[in-house]
């Protein structure tokens, strides 16, 4: 019992300080939205997983008139060939989300250890690593992805690789900054003095401390990778035509926008929803984690709070 009170005693001031120092004007409300966003996100993933059960028809089979209006039988209408837009959106989301999740995973798999090592080792090896990352970051994300598409040729695995390559340097940047801040803390020095090796220090003493920051970046990254993979599919470098995918279906709706707006509406809303959820969840986690676990540092800095803002800003913040 005593231990609990002590912990609460330490945590309490940080919680009280947060509204004034951190995010004035958006206390409470942001948290509620964040929780709702988490719930909707889980629901969305469930809906996409259950696409085979929920979809009224096969996403690639023609079930009615070309460009049929939304109706009781086809809630979101029919596309240019007469395929059910709702079914295509449900199945297409699986494709989009799998690409987004896989590419986020691979980007983190490369970027996180690289950034942590560079940040921990420092000096010239760390410096050189980050200069190389800077070279990658000198290309806007989409351009770097298009370079990968050029090298590998179009296809879904290419899109995963392209998106992962574009975002790995972002992860490296953010983790580099975070690790550098932790590296010079006394307890890390103490661990070194006691004789812990670099691997143990990074895994046991550095990683848990920077984990909140990583989680925030990860959740926002789902939004960024969704947008980028949808963009590559929109440009025609992803799935092959009959297969449904949000970006590709948005491109297919483009030429029929004047007669059949509903073809691109459902996938458009879907992409918006995923990015919105990712941003809100990122915001929510950012607020929670820096307030709950951030008592060792300054009163909740703005840096993880505004996770809704895309890559460029995350990089800008990491550079500060």
């Amino acid at each position: 019992m005593v231990a609990v009170t002590v912990v609460e005693g330490v945590a309490a001031p940080a919680t009280v300080e947060a509204p004034t120092g951190g995010q004035p004007g958006r206390t409470g409300g942001g948290d509620r939205f964040g929780l709702i966003a988490c719930a909707v996100g889980v629901l969305l993933v469930l809906v996409l997983l259950l696409a085979p059960v929920l979809a009224p028809s096969d996403p690639t089979s023609i079930v009615g008139d070309a460009r049929g209006h939304p109706s009781a039988a086809h809630w979101f209408g029919l596309d240019a060939l007469g395929r059910d837009v709702l079914s295509r959106t449900l199945y297409g989301g699986r494709e989009t989300l799998v690409i987004a999740l896989l590419s986020t995973f691979f980007a983190a798999l490369v970027g996180v250890p690289l950034g942590m090592l560079a940040g921990y080792v420092g000096r010239w090896p760390g410096g050189v690593t980050m200069r190389v990352m800077d070279v990658f970051l000198a290309f806007p994300g989409l351009l770097l992805a298009l370079v990968i598409v050029t090298i590998r040729g179009p296809g879904t695995t290419t899109v995963v690789a392209a998106v992962a390559v574009s975002f790995a340097p972002v992860f490296a940047r953010v983790l580099y900054g975070a690790t550098q801040r932790v590296r010079n803390q006394e307890y890390v020095a103490a661990a070194r003095v006691v004789g812990c090796g670099p691997a143990r220090i990074l895994a046991r003493h550095v990683f848990p401390v920077i984990l909140p920051e990583l989680i925030v970046v990860l959740s926002s990254a789902i939004g960024w990778t969704t947008l980028l993979s949808a963009t590559l599919n929109f440009l025609g470098f992803g799935v092959r035509p009959p297969a449904p995918e949000w970006g590709a279906d948005l491109a297919a709706g483009l030429s029929h926008i004047s007669q059949a707006w509903w073809i691109s509406t459902a996938p458009g809303v879907a992409v918006t929803l995923v990015i919105l959820l990712a941003n809100l969840v990122g915001d929510h986690l950012g607020g929670r984690l820096t307030r709950g676990g951030g008592r060792r540092r300054r009163p909740a800095r703005r840096d993880t709070g505004d996770a809704g803002v895309p890559v460029a800003e995350a990089v800008a913040k990491a550079k500060e």
């Binding site: 351009l143 298009l146 458009g268 460029a312 800008a316």
Partner: protein, 310 residues
Amino acid sequence: MLAYALRRIVVSVPLLVGVSLLVFLILRLIPGDPAQILLFGANPTPDMVAELRHQLGLDQSAPAQYWLYAQRLVRGDLGYSYVTNSPVMSEIAARLPYTIELALAALGVALVLGFVTGILAGMWPGSVIDRIATVVSVLGLAVPYFWLAQLLVLIFAVRLGWLPALGLGGPTAIVLPALSLGLGFAAIITRLLRSSLIEVYQQPYLLVARAKGMAPSRLLVRHALRNAVGSVVTVIGLQIGNLFAGAVAIEIIFGRPGLGQYLVSSIQQKDIPAIQGVVLFVAVVYIGVNLLVDLAHGVLDPRVRLGWSR
């Protein structure tokens, strides 16, 4: 200031070398022999292939090839298009104005909308204006620009018939592409400016200025904005690259013959020198713009050029 400027410029040089190296590697990493791609369909004899490989410098070692490539780059020579056989530099120059026009117009949209709403929301957090601005900007950040473009076309071109949806005809043709590309960027500026202003308004020096009876407008312009705008300026620089990248999809949607459209058609046609040229060009512009932005930031905020951590 001069020392700061020089330091920033010197830092850019290895970055440029790295960028050129990466772009050079595209050619090496693409499966297949460029000479074979070039002679595709011509039933080339081995002699013809060898001759062409020699002409392109492909028979030399990789470092020697890069050295040649770098020498040509310094002279502004980006090579010759596989498709049209004309210099890539002149192909880029012919399309650049359309992309610049689009990027500048979108930047204008973003700056005007972003600053107006960001300042209004930041000065009165919690007000009705702030709430509307917050909801709209959170949505604006989430809507993919290539769907927003379709919505704008549907509303303003198809339904209302106010603005043209396609092509370059007349000054109104830029409005929809610029809005499509600029609105998301405006949302970023709004959010960022709002939160920096709120933070700055809580600083003691502003309280003092206000207590001394300074007019709110003067307080904003002279004291609050100058301090709040720093992080916004940095992000504007970083977002310029996204404007060029976003131009790829926007130019295709609106049928504008700019760099983005050229890049996508070059990728489809495997026109490697053109791809390398456009990618390198955009990266160099991006680095240049960010250099300028950093210098401007240094002028605005002495702490930056003196290297004080914020």
